[in-house]
Symmetry: C2
Subunit: 215 residues, 2 copies
């Protein structure tokens, strides 16, 4: 299967539309670099190889109908849902599962509901949560070395033909909240969601830091 990385941007369950110039190629490069890091850490991903600046060849998987969110710092829907100030550091990372169901606004599901709704088996829920926490660990270290705090991120998993779970998603400023460690500046899609300006520049900055060799 070929994934096409577009410049289109959407937010708030597709209620907001727009374009971020050059986002597709930037997100492809960021994702490929990070997914390679995941593979090195023993987390299997769907990546096969890059076909062009916007095209990524990936293994065909059956996508688990869960958006898996890991949070290190309070932000976004978590802050809103529970009335907690953005920026509070959680005592430990939190995994939240949401049913991929646009018609109902991707509602939160607890682990038992995920099973009863037929979204994943009990074993898969356990495995997905463990994998997501492992991804968080690697990703936090990776961004930390680059002066970026990983606030939260969303990933999806797929079932390969052999039944194995693969990380089957992009990992980019579209799907992560990334705050500069020093300035706390947002380097992610929140700049687009909240009309903060400097959207392209933020993605470029993340790309630069992701690709720059670490001393």
């Amino acid at each position: 299967v070929v994934l096409l990385f577009k410049d289109d941007a959407t937010a708030f369950n597709r209620q907001k539309f727009g374009t971020i110039d050059g986002k597709g190629p930037m997100n492809l490069r960021i994702s490929v670099r990070i997914l390679a890091e995941m593979e090195r850490a023993g987390i299997p991903t769907h990546v096969v190889r890059v076909l062009s600046e916007r095209e990524l060849l990936v293994r065909k998987v059956q996508i688990v109908q869960l958006e898996v969110v890991v949070r290190n710092i309070v932000a976004g829907t978590f802050a809103k849902r529970y009335g907690i100030d953005e920026g509070r550091v959680l005592e430990r990372p939190l995994v939240e599962l949401f049913w991929k169901d646009d018609a109902h606004g991707d509602p939160l599901v607890n682990d038992d509901a995920a099973q009863l709704l037929g979204l994943a088996t009990a074993d898969e829920v356990v495995a997905i949560k463990a994998l997501a926490l492992r991804v968080n660990e690697v990703l936090r270290g990776f961004f930390g070395e680059r002066g970026i705090d990983l606030v939260d991120f969303k990933v999806e998993f797929g079932r390969a033909s052999d039944g194995r779970l693969l990380l089957a998603d992009e990992i980019s400023p579209d799907s992560c909240r990334l705050w500069d460690r020093g300035t706390k500046q947002k380097l992610d899609k929140d700049r687009f969601r909240r009309d903060l300006g400097g959207v392209e520049e933020a993605y470029q900055e993340v790309l630069r830091r992701v690709e720059e060799p670490i001393a």
Copy 2:
């Protein structure tokens, strides 16, 4: 502490107000009968003794800030949240935890969030879910013998001074969805919530069946 059973009825996070004539004394009698059944089944409750037709003396506890919902059949907010038809029988009972927080509409929390939000310890979450499922088992049997399907119910738990968790709530047609097994008629607060009429009669019918000796 003295619990006062009033005739006031509220719904939809207190957006709907009303009165159900004679509800207080009926709910007190229903609750007392059912909570005695729980004690017999080994589930500790806060009940001490009845003081009057509207007053119940209970042990003072620190209420855990969770609304614990157990569902056997799809209805209410679960049906709405996930877009599933009311009446679908779940493969097994589902426990859902909601943060008792009117200002934010009692939002759903998963088990990890309940801990991270400081609502309960990891051990308490496990114990509360196990107790809730045990309550469900006893309650389902009790209503089943009386020709009533237990669709779902909400309970709260409290920490006694010795740290033990007690069932610390009423159990009545205010907090349970009860459907007549034969006619599927609703015998609970949904008659009030949805303006179905026959509200008092439904509570009377539940009281009658709850107090009637079983052959």
